[in-house]
Amino acid sequence: MQISFTLNAKPVTLDVEPATLVTELLREHLNLTGTHIGCDTSQCGACVVHLDGLAVKSCTLLAPALQGKSLVTIEGLQGAPGSNQLHPMQEAFRQHHGLQCGFCTPGMVMSAIALAHAKAALTEAEVRRGLEGNICRCTGYQNIVLAVMAGTAAMHGAGSGE
């Protein structure tokens, strides 16, 4: 079947098998390998992307669900529009050493941005609860939590585009 959607701010139209998962569509067909697959039970969150601004696990989403919607992956993030800058949340992860092996990072960053969009100032407890769907095995979460709080402040302070 044919689907049309916006991918990282660009319109795309594709022929897909209806049973294609969005993870597979991104990784195997569109060569966007930044979205990772860390489990088979929708627990780890390495595959989180934004669908119309909401964080969703792309491992449990079928390609036809993208029809008419806007999909943003880790590759679609940027700071100031048109710049090569990191998005403020990516920059906050870098500044706070919120990543080690990098495998959970794309999903973690996407979840974090969605959290920040939902609320302008996040407490530590809100960030920890908000990341319940993302597993990191390396960092012990401490620096991720600090990064998300700082990234949220930066997003609401300086303003940014996604």
């Binding site: 088979d40 880790i74 990191l86 870098r94 050493h97 990098g102 390396c138 401490q142």
Partner: protein
């Protein structure tokens, strides 16, 4: 021009840009032209004979390219997976070492054992075809626990391994320990279980293999912590290929924790299969597949006894452990519960006599091998738990009892009764630092506040020492290592003065690209941004033993430091020629070679140009070029140590344990990048907290099925399980590594399980609880509380 960023600074990591923007290059991201897909058919039974395999229906399916089984492996005359360590029992008898075939040969020994490899055009086709492979199993009785496995009449995994005992290993002076126990004023006793764990790096294992018939070259991309070791073991011992015709690449790897430091059968099978089908083949494990095939960790059953005099001085320690090896010997398997366990039982204490007996046991479970800490968390757990038991028995304060027995700073170097000699340390300094940071003196107030809201609060201490920086080859050889454990590095100064380092360690989260660049930046005075670190490719990097055992900085960093020194030595010769001075008068500092007492100098960049454009150059006595290589073999292990303090609150209504505070003060020697060290400590601590409170690999005793086989069933620590931790370093310098470094990758995981469980026991002490096995789940704690509160004998 950028700046020199050296030792002690915390530059942000070089590797972050690609990871943060989705441009990492993990094995599962790689595609090769004409690539086919492979799927492993795994045993659904814990123990069964294979009476026959019918491939026909699978082979007839459209899209299927090949179905390979153990019979094909045998027909090609291939070897089995080697064990890298050969230990012996007290009489010098070698361990039982049954073969570990890369695909099952007539028998399967655990759920997940590999039976066939199916190659097809797509993963979907291969998966469907795997279901069509008919395996005729004769199911046998199985055994999963060590206590059951050594009982008379237990199912036997191997005909020639009586009682399933691989090796009955011992260490220490048994007679001296027996004598000390006879003189003891008190003997503390403890039986405990060290729970089986599954490492769960977030990237599942994966491999791609390709064969080029034009060159005869095999290439294997694999999620490995040590590509050179995989190349050596696989080519020399399993597939019997010339080593120079095999290239192993481990690109970005999404976490290891030990799980990816073994040579796995999947690697050998896929490399062999790619040549048979003349197509690149890719395999990516699902998480469920990881659970039944990634090597597991821990799984000990232990009885320990500590003899003390009337003042609480430790006289002797006796430890008897049954260690689960699973169904076969993995790469480091038998080394972990023996050589990396027994020698750590001295801890930070002056215990004069120690005896340790470990029975290494086969069971119908996934092979057990190293997982972050590997043997050392198990030893620390035994020691730090029994010290608490002794303190409680004798009515001596837990901290005071530890203090009375700690090795004073002045006593280093300190020879323990169990092989190792600690070069440096300051356990009392770490303890005092942790007591202050954890605000222990106000714990009573916090406990009272918890009590007012109906909660039990507990405080737990753990000290530890570990042996890492694996390893001095000669020493390891005496203990049974079958390989060397040195490391190598090349420092390549380019004609324009930038530097590429080629190093045999592997970076999979530890930040080596940053830390190692800081070392070069400082030593050579080169801008941090002008140094890149290359690793993980046997065709680019000369050789290396990889990353495990907190060895990368300690051993690899030392090789790097040596190679940089050699660059300086050569640079001085070139500078002496250019500056028309004696070599002895040339000084190198901050990137400049200068003639002592003058302002005449050449920069490293100018020296590099002269070396690569040798027009004015001493060609008669010096080769052109500026690239040096060094191998470093350490003279001793390094011994990081420290003190961890955990504070927990327990809700008696639910049994839920909340970790409310955590403090760690660790002695990791010289710190190169404090930000990265802190991150390693955080992550390590949380893995230990996971073992203490959440994680447990559970097998069904009758069927041998893994019950905790997914992230739904195996509880991993999540962000909302944890408090903000306080970590600090209290460093003494290692006396034998070039930069005084000791390693920090495993310390968190070694110190934390005992600290957390000691806190849980402390919180429940008023109920008469003296020990809690891990993980301290709500169910387990609730039952303890209920049993303690029950009125007597209401039948």
């Amino acid at each position: 021009m950028g700046n020199v960023i050296g030792i002690g600074a915390s530059p942000r990591r070089k590797e972050d840009q690609r990871f943060l923007t989705g441009r990492g290059n993990y094995v599962s991201d790689i595609k090769r032209p004409g690539m086919a897909a492979g799927v492993f058919l795994r045993s659904p039974h814990a123990h069964a004979l294979i009476r026959g395999i019918d491939k026909q229906a699978a082979l007839e399916m459209p899209g299927v390219i090949a179905v390979l089984t153990g019979e094909d492996v045998a027909a090609d005359g291939l070897g089995s997976l080697p064990c890298g360590w050969g230990i012996t029992d007290a009489r010098g008898v070698p361990m039982k070492e049954p073969p570990f075939p890369m695909l099952a040969q007539g028998k399967v020994r655990f759920v997940g054992d590999m039976v066939a490899f199916v190659i097809a055009e797509t993963v979907e086709d291969a998966s469907t075809a795997a279901e069509l492979v008919k395996v005729d199993y004769e199911v046998l009785p199985s055994v999963v626990g060590v206590l059951d496995a050594v009982r008379p009449g237990a199912p036997k995994l191997f005909d020639d391994v009586p009682n399933n005992i691989c090796c009955d290993w011992e260490l220490g002076d048994k007679a001296a320990v027996d004598t000390a126990f006879r003189k003891a004023a008190h003997v503390a006793r403890l039986s405990l279980v060290n729970n089986r764990l599954i490492g769960n790096p977030m990237e599942p294992r994966a491999a791609i293999a390709e064969y080029n018939p034009g060159t005869g070259q095999h290439t294997l991309w694999t999620t490995s912590q040590f590509p050179h070791v995989v190349r050596f073991l696989m080519s020399a011992l399993v597939l019997k290929l010339p080593e120079h015709k095999v290239r192993v690449v481990a690109p970005d790897v999404g976490g290891g924790f030990g799980v990816k430091q073994f040579h796995y059968g999947e690697e050998a099978v896929i490399t062999w299969a790619a040549k048979r089908v003349m197509r690149p083949v890719k395999w990516v494990a699902s998480r469920s597949e990881c659970y039944v095939s990634d090597r597991h960790g821990r799984d000990h059953v232990t009885e320990a006894e500590l003899a003390l005099d009337e003042k609480g001085k430790f006289l002797a320690l006796r430890v008897k452990t049954l260690a689960n090896m699973g169904g076969y010997l993995s790469t480091f398997g038998p080394n972990i519960p023996t050589n990396l366990y027994g020698p750590l039982l001295s801890g930070v204490y002056t215990t004069p006599a120690i005896y340790c007996n470990v029975k290494v046991v086969f069971t119908n479970t996934v092979p057990v091998d190293a997982y972050r800490g590997a043997g050392r968390p198990e030893a620390t757990f035994v020691l730090e738990r029994i010290v608490d038991v002794a303190a409680s028995d004798m009515g001596i304060d837990r901290v005071e009892l530890r203090r009375r027995n700690m090795i004073p700073k002045e006593a280093y170097p300190y020879q323990t009764p169990v092989l190792v000699q600690y070069d440096s340390g300051d356990p009392i300094g770490c303890l005092d630092g942790a007591l202050a940071a954890a605000d222990v003196k106000w714990f009573g107030t916090r406990k009272a506040a918890s009590a007012r809201s109906g909660k039990f609060r507990g405080l737990g201490f753990s000290t530890y020492v570990e042996a890492c920086g694996l390893a001095p080859s000669r020493f390891a050889g005496r203990l049974g290592a079958r390989g060397g454990l040195y490391e190598s590095a090349t420092v390549r100064v380019h004609p324009a003065g930038q530097v590429t380092v080629l190093i045999g360690t592997h970076n999979h989260g530890q930040g080596h690209e940053t830390t190692f660049a800081q070392i070069v930046s400082e030593k050579l005075g080169v801008a941090f941004e002008n140094v890149d670190i290359v690793f993980g490719d046997t065709d680019r990097v000369q050789f290396g033993m990889g990353t495990y055992g907190s060895r990368s900085l300690v051993v690899g960093g030392a090789a790097l430091s040596k190679a940089a020194d050699k660059v300086i030595v050569k640079g001085k010769k070139i500078a002496a020629h250019l500056l028309e001075a004696s070599e002895a008068d040339i000084h190198f500092e901050a990137g400049k070679f200068s003639v002592a007492g003058t302002d005449r100098a050449k920069t490293l960049g100018e020296i590099a140009v002269a070396a690569y454009v040798p027009h004015n150059y001493p060609l008669e006595v010096l080769e052109p070029g500026l690239e040096e290589q060094a191998y470093y073999d350490p003279v001793n292990f390094t011994y990081p140590g420290g003190c961890h303090i955990a504070e927990v609150e327990i809700d008696p209504e639910t049994g839920a344990v909340t970790l409310v505070d955590y403090t760690a003060v660790d002695d990791v020697g010289t710190v190169i990048n404090p930000m990265i060290v802190e991150g390693q400590l955080h992550g390590g601590i949380v893995q230990g907290v996971g073992q203490a409170l959440y994680e447990n690999a559970v097998y069904d005793e009758s069927s041998g099925q893994l019950m905790s086989g997914s992230l739904m069933d195996y509880c991993m620590p999540r962000a909302d399980h944890l408090p903000m931790m306080k970590v600090a370093t209290h460093s003494t310098l290692c006396t034998h590594t070039p930069m005084g470094v000791k390693g920090c990758g495993e310390v968190g995981t070694i110190g934390s399980p005992a600290a957390v469980i000691n806190a849980v026991v402390d919180a429940l002490a008023h109920l008469g609880v003296t020990h809690v096995d891990m993980p301290a789940t709500p169910n387990r704690i609730w039952r303890l509380i209920q049993n303690a509160s029950l009125p007597i004998a209401a039948e």
